[in-house]
């Protein structure tokens, strides 16, 4: 049985972003593996079987793939094709599905819950739909027993236990447990690894149509807040002044 983990690279979460000519720019902030995808790699490595990391993207996607190899994935595959720029999540899901099918014999496909660049959080469920597999998203725990799996999911109202037949798609929340750090040996291995690149011809598909069009990217309006510091006196006196200000906002 094979296990696939789908990952991508994003600007570091501490990066400052600005809109320049309608594009997002993060200056010289580094690209890193999407933080949510680290949980996906962790969960994939905890299953029995060989884990293959998969990423659609250009040269930079190797940053994520090498991180996954360093964490312990057996193989990495990059899907790269000039026809794949500006994909929406619908197109990404179709290409990932084609790659998962080409890998073949895959029982479990792991995803991050959301990519912190576009913040869509759609690809896992959409890939599951294309493959016709169960979408077992936002998982806190995963227990495989033969060809069935039981997951505990974290939803707004609490926790839900769901059982399903494999194959299935999974995404993880933080309660799953912290992802491991790459080992020294892992980093060395990853730096030497040859990562095969597949193009669309190799997947046997045409570039899927993109239906979601980005018209522009803007800086958010500046928040015009000037902080008023409340000071002077005992905590009780400060609290009185602060309470007056809060009441005057007419929120409560």
């Amino acid at each position: 049985m094979k296990i696939v983990v789908c990952i991508k690279e994003v600007p570091d979460s501490a990066a400052t972003l600005v809109a320049e000519d309608g594009q997002a720019s993060w200056g010289d902030a580094p690209l890193v593996i999407n933080p949510w995808d680290e949980y996906a790699v962790e969960a994939a490595l905890n299953q029995e079987g060989d884990v293959i990391a998969l990423s659609i993207g250009g040269e930079d996607s190797k940053i994520a793939l090498k991180h996954a190899l360093a964490m312990g994935c057996k193989e990495a595959i990059q899907v790269s094709d000039d026809a794949l720029s500006n994909m929406d999540t619908q197109a990404t899901a179709k290409v990932l599905s084609a790659a998962i099918q080409k890998i073949g014999d895959v029982d479990m496909a792991f995803f991050g819950r959301q990519a912190i660049d576009g913040d869509a959080g759609l690809t896992p469920a959409q890939t599951a739909r294309v493959l016709g597999w169960s979408a077992l998203t936002l998982a806190v725990s995963i227990a495989v027993d033969g060809d069935t799996v039981k997951v505990e999911r974290s939803i707004e109202e609490g926790r839900e236990t769901v059982s399903a037949k494999l194959p299935a798609v999974f995404s993880l929340v933080k309660d799953y447990g912290e992802p491991r750090y790459p080992s020294f040996m892992g980093i060395r291995k990853a730096s030497r690894a040859k990562i095969p690149a597949w193009d669309l011809a190799e997947l046997g598909i045409e570039a899927p149509a993109t239906t979601v069009e980005v018209v522009g990217i803007e800086n958010p309006p500046k928040r015009d807040v000037r902080v008023e510091m409340i000071d002077g006196g005992s905590p009780a006196e400060i609290a009185e002044k602060l309470a007056e200000r809060i009441m005057a906002e007419k929120i409560l």
Binding site: L122, L136, E156, G158, V212, V215, D231, I251
Partner: protein, 338 residues
């Protein structure tokens, strides 16, 4: 324009953002129908009328008693491909997001997800959505039919319910497809106000554990003592939250140190919230925390360090020890709110 609003609910309890979506749909103009799927959910049809729907499509089937996204997607996609609405609106809940995503695949369309503002541009919805955790805004359109949009909770005004208002109720046949998975049980989250719906949030960070005046019970290791101290700090925060009818939030540092469960985490890898009032206690204001709460209307920061970055985003700031200020603020607010 024919607009459908999907009414998201958990066990026949509607998510408030569903009603906000009805309001948003009416503001765009057009015929607004609410789609209610489930089992034993007639009451939601009445509420949908009261919140402004002109028509309700009610699809009930025992197979839809538990929400499994595959079944709901099959049912909704079938209805939409028959009736060809121009626009489908969903609230951005975990269910709404995935359901919209799957329906988009079925109908060969695309999703504009977690949108905070909409306007019409010809017959297209021009949507604004935060990206990079709100550091930037994206303007986007869907070039297929139906256009599919999910709306962020609390970004659109909830209409006033008009009691007794009614409209056209249409019972629809649902095809629920093959069961891919089964729900075996639920454990409800521990009470209190939910973070994403809250109009007031009181949060704590690593500073909650920093109270040298507290002596931990005998026999605790240093780690246990730290958690114990933090829990005393969070108890003060919970008392203030109760006075204000607020939800309790936390920074990741507080969650990672096991002071409080992950469900309370606010930020880039926690919950994104936009309450009217956010009170941050002992939180430095790291960029990843700000990402989750910067859209709060009024931010109050209480921090020992006058240089803490959180003060740059706050409307009101207090340089002081949260263990002294929070209980005093609780008393002062109690006196005012009764």
């Amino acid at each position: 324009m024919k607009i459908w609003v999907y009414i998201d609910h958990f066990k026949a309890d509607a998510v408030s953002a569903s009603w906000e979506a009805i309001g948003a749909a009416k503001a765009l103009g057009g015929d607004v129908a609410a789609v209610v799927l489930g089992f034993g959910v007639e009451n939601l049809a009445n509420s949908a009328f009261e919140y402004g729907a002109d028509e309700v499509l009610l699809g009930q089937d025992a197979a839809l008693e538990d929400f499994r996204v595959e079944n709901y997607a099959t049912a909704l996609s079938a209805l939409a491909s028959d009736a060809t609405p121009d626009l489908l609106l969903f609230p951005t809940t975990s269910r709404g997001r995935e359901l919209a995503g799957m329906v988009a695949m079925d109908l060969e369309s695309g999703v504009l997800v977690d949108v905070v503002a909409m306007e019409m541009d010809g017959d297209k919805v021009l949507a604004t959505r935060p990206i990079y955790a709100g550091k930037l805004l994206q303007k986007t359109v869907c070039n297929a039919t139906p256009q599919i949009v999910t709306l962020r909770g609390r970004a659109f005004e909830k209409p006033e319910a008009e009691s007794g208002r009614s409209g056209t109720l249409t019972q629809v046949q649902v095809t629920s497809g093959d069961e891919k998975s089964t729900v075996e049980g639920y454990a409800e989250a521990g009470g209190g106000v939910s973070l994403t719906d809250a109009s007031v949030i009181v949060s704590g960070g690593r500073g909650t554990s920093n109270n040298p005046n507290l002596t931990a019970p005998d026999g605790m290791s240093e780690d246990e003592a730290e958690i114990w101290r933090a829990q005393q700090g969070f108890a003060l925060i919970a008392e203030l939250a109760e006075t204000l009818g607020a939800a309790v939030g936390a920074s990741r540092a507080a969650v990672d140190a096991n002071y409080i469960p992950y469900a309370n985490q606010v930020g880039q890898t926690g919950k994104v919230v936009s309450p009217d009032l956010y009170i941050a206690n002992g939180i430095s204001g790291a960029i990843q925390h700000l990402a989750g709460m910067r859209n709060s209307k009024v931010i109050v920061a209480i921090n020992k360090d006058a240089d803490a970055p959180i003060f740059k985003f706050a409307r009101y700031g207090v340089v002081g020890d949260l263990h002294e200020i929070v209980p005093a603020l609780n008393e002062a607010m109690k006196a005012r709110l009764g």
